[in-house]
């Protein structure tokens, strides 16, 4: 029997597509598979999280307890947009879980990272898949995810939301004149 998606409440995702009762709803398995197939993020990374849908296709990752359905303002964090041909992870989810990614990660040099954080699109060479990528940069001895980029026709579009964009300086030339306090 099929039920409709109710936009104002949180419904926990079914474990698998076979358990699905709401038309078009993603399953937990499909969400975890997506992060593994697209970005190489191991399913174990999400072991402590449940996934929920609120609104059409917006998926939330939550580490706490809740019955389903749940009527409240937020349950964890938005992590993925489904119910569209190409699923799109959120900036916040990529910053939270993207350090575990091994595929479709585009490493940006200093000035390109600055442009990405400012929300700018830029021409870049990339030999991998087109579509949604995790943009990352080298930061203090490790690769750190910046957010989600959409790569098409030689251009990387930054999808950093307006409220998260920042005008920052390139790490390639920081440090010289400014030093940490002793």
């Amino acid at each position: 029997m099929s039920e409709g998606n109710v936009g104002s409440r949180f419904d926990r995702l079914p474990a698998t597509d076979a358990d699905r009762r709401v038309e078009g709803r993603a399953s937990r398995e499909a969400v975890v598979d997506y992060f593994e197939e697209r970005f190489g993020i191991e399913p174990a990374v999400f072991e402590g999280h449940t996934f929920w849908e609120k609104g059409a296709g917006k998926i939330w990752a939550y580490a706490g307890e809740s019955p389903t359905p749940a009527t409240l303002e937020a349950l964890g964090m938005t992590c993925l947009r489904t119910r569209q041909e190409h699923w799109k992870p959120t900036t916040d989810a990529v910053q939270r879980f993207g350090r575990h990614a091994s595929e479709n990660v585009i490493e940006l040099p200093g000035p390109a990272a600055v442009r990405f954080a400012a929300g700018e699109d830029q021409e870049l060479a990339w030999n991998g898949d087109w579509g949604y990528l995790i943009a990352a940069h080298e930061l203090a001895g490790g690769l750190e995810p910046l957010g989600v980029g959409l790569y098409l026709h030689g251009e990387l579009r930054s999808t950093v939301p307006k409220g998260r964009r920042r005008e920052l300086s390139s790490l390639d030339d920081a440090g010289g004149s400014r030093r940490p306090l002793e």
Binding site: L75, M77, Q95
Partner: protein, 303 residues
């Protein structure tokens, strides 16, 4: 500053207190350990040439040598969050553990909520409530930016908060960082005392009593409730706790905190309060070069 005169009898070095209240505060951030260790956050600040200084009492709090702590890579990545030094004290006193059920009754804009989630390694349930929908959107934004996935957000009046939406009856710990007259934020907001009136203080105290009573009721026996405000007025602090001690099953619990402070008052303007209130803490701006705060910890007892 005139309203502060009423505290002359209770503040030891009143001139130092007045002086500190007139000086602006520096920039302070809390390291968000959900996304980065303190070492990694500090290394990021060093890489981008932002000077910092650690504070002695809390390894996760840094004083920054910049006017705009939001315009750093550390902030962009959610490694740091602007939060006044003393305002990170209540969550430390509440001391939640991973896996617990915790209620932040007046959670917006989310600095303390996300701090609770971080202290729990983002495992467990942090229910962040606020009655102001506009401020809740700031809370949601901050929680997502900081990757706090253990946070559930509700929009209700904390005084009659319902447990119905949850699959459990009681919280393990509750933080009531109550709406208050904000006298202790004068260093951050020089207008904080404009329009001050005793009537407003007493009206806020009524709301605070209602919220703290509900918090004790919603917390399990043996659990902890921390009550805090960023104000000096005893009517909003000791008097509120005293009122709830008389009506709910709880007692004041002493706590350790590496910040200088004075004991809570056991009387004010002819009123006497429960002697246990001496275990609460009044933190004045001149004592640690911070804003002002009041913190009391309550243990919920058998009803």
């Amino acid at each position: 500053m005139e309203p502060l005169e009423r505290y002359r009898p209770i503040v030891d070095d009143f001139e130092a207190f007045r002086g500190a209240c007139g000086r602006p505060l520096g920039t302070v951030v809390r390291v968000n350990t959900i996304k980065a260790s303190v070492e990694r956050a500090v290394a990021t600040l060093e890489a981008e040439g932002v000077g910092y200084e650690r504070v002695g009492w809390n390894p996760r709090v840094l004083r920054l040598e910049t006017e705009s702590p939001g315009a750093t890579w550390a902030s962009f990545h959610g490694f740091t969050h602007g939060q006044e030094e003393v305002s990170s004290a209540p969550a430390v006193v509440l001391d939640p553990e991973p896996g617990e059920r915790v209620w932040d009754a007046c959670g917006a804009p989310g600095g303390k909520t996300t701090q609770l989630a971080a202290l729990m390694d983002d495992r467990g349930t942090v229910v962040a409530n606020d009655n102001d929908l506009g401020r809740l959107s700031a809370l949601r934004f901050n929680a997502e930016r900081l990757g706090a996935s253990s946070v559930a957000v509700t929009n209700a009046d904390a005084r009659n908060f319902s447990m119905a939406p949850f699959g459990f009856e009681r919280f393990d710990r509750t933080l009531v960082d109550a709406p208050c007259s904000c006298e202790g934020t004068i260093r951050k907001n020089p207008d904080a005392l404009e329009g001050w009136s005793l009537a407003a203080v007493e009206s806020l105290a009524g709301v605070q009593k209602g919220i703290l009573r509900r918090a004790v009721q919603a917390t399990r026996e043996g659990g902890t409730v921390v009550y805090s405000t960023c104000t000096f007025a005893p009517e909003e602090n000791e008097a509120v706790v005293d009122h709830v001690l008389d009506r709910e099953s709880c007692r004041v619990r002493p706590f350790e905190l590496g910040l200088e402070g004075d004991p809570g008052l056991t009387g004010w303007k002819g009123e006497e309060y429960d002697p246990g209130l001496a275990a609460a803490r009044r933190i004045y701006p001149h004592q640690n070069d911070t804003g002002g705060f009041f913190i009391a910890a309550l243990e919920v007892t058998a009803g």
